[in-house]
Symmetry: C2
Subunit: 206 residues, 2 copies
């Protein structure tokens, strides 16, 4: 791409570094910003820069936070003894969107994946184990990817907790609502047959 | 979307203001930046902000530029007497990518569109007319959208130039290379029949 301005080229280059943003999209975004007031573009830049510099991670659950303890952990109306273990804050946002969970979270920061060089020490597992002891956690709900890495992570944490009196569960896997049976992969179909539910609990949603 | 951090929410909000970027994409971009070094994110912000504040528009052709005169207008090896009239710098970039044009450009900033409140005065038409006189322009090539607005703009400028000895052309419209005849719209097909070329000029590309 030819640019008659180095300033423009640099700006396009910065946007094109972002995941999923190609040169053409980057140019479209930059030309949009070029049409905005300088104040608005300054605000854009400042908000992004400030976010990166000032954001913190909750000392308890590792979720992003503006304070030492995040707003979920600090909320006394939420069940502190119920912890949903997730990989990233993306899952926290997805689960919060359902408005069906009233416990707290623990963000691992990924799953154990030796091939990618990610062992238990790279994840926030120690903090989770400490919480179980300190906060009197009664139930840990795993909401990890249904992959070998996810299962390995569950297995590892489960073993570490075998002497603790804590209930360990995982979110249900099955055929999604609206999903077509014939297009479901074999693994999911096989598991959802194995883990079949009595019709009463299905109907009542218990 | 629920965010446990106002800083994060603001950053996502800023990205989501960009055209074609929804909340989910914005979150993906912000989480990517969150994983980068603070220095890199600062650089991203600074480059964007600086671009908006320092970029200038060529006093001659209205193209984006780092100086008073853009690098294309300042290039003496380019034919200054041949001017390609375009709507935005996007078309400049597209035509430059072909490496087939060795003249200069004139960026109008849009086309005449009374319904959108854009008249000749909102566009860089005056500058173009001045160039014709001052720079001894021999040919004006219109590369505008094939719309009523584009045609109106061509007609308007053409009328203003009727006493000047300047050749006025427009880029060829026709069926694109690789385009299927049967799927071409009627207008394009009809025009490409009307403006049929002798086979020699087609083969030699003259």
């Amino acid at each position: 791409m030819f640019f008659s301005s180095q300033l423009l080229e640099n700006a396009v280059g910065e946007f094109a570094k972002l995941p999923g943003i190609g040169k053409k999209t980057a140019l479209r975004l930059v030309l949009h910003l070029l049409k905005q007031d300088a104040d608005q573009v300054d605000q854009f830049s400042e908000v992004i820069s400030r976010m990166r510099k000032e954001i913190r991670f909750c000392q308890r659950c590792n979720n992003v936070s503006d304070a030492d303890i995040c707003s979920i952990c600090a909320n006394v109306s939420r069940k502190q003894e119920m912890v949903c273990v997730v990989e990233t804050i993306r899952e926290v946002i997805a689960i919060e969107a359902t408005q069906q969970f009233n416990g707290t979270y623990h963000v691992l920061g990924g799953v154990i994946s030796p091939l990618d060089g990610i062992g238990p020490d790279q994840l926030q597992i120690e903090g989770l184990l400490n919480r179980v002891v300190k906060d009197n956690v009664e139930e840990i709900i795993f909401a990890l990817s249904p992959t070998i890495q996810g299962d390995t992570t569950i297995y590892y944490i489960q073993k570490k907790l075998k002497d603790r009196k804590v209930k360990i569960t995982t979110i249900a896997r099955g055929i999604a609502f609206g999903g077509e049976l014939e297009y479901t992969d074999e693994m999911t179909l096989a598991r959802s047959l194995q883990n079949r539910l009595p019709i009463e609990s299905y109907v009542s949603g218990k």
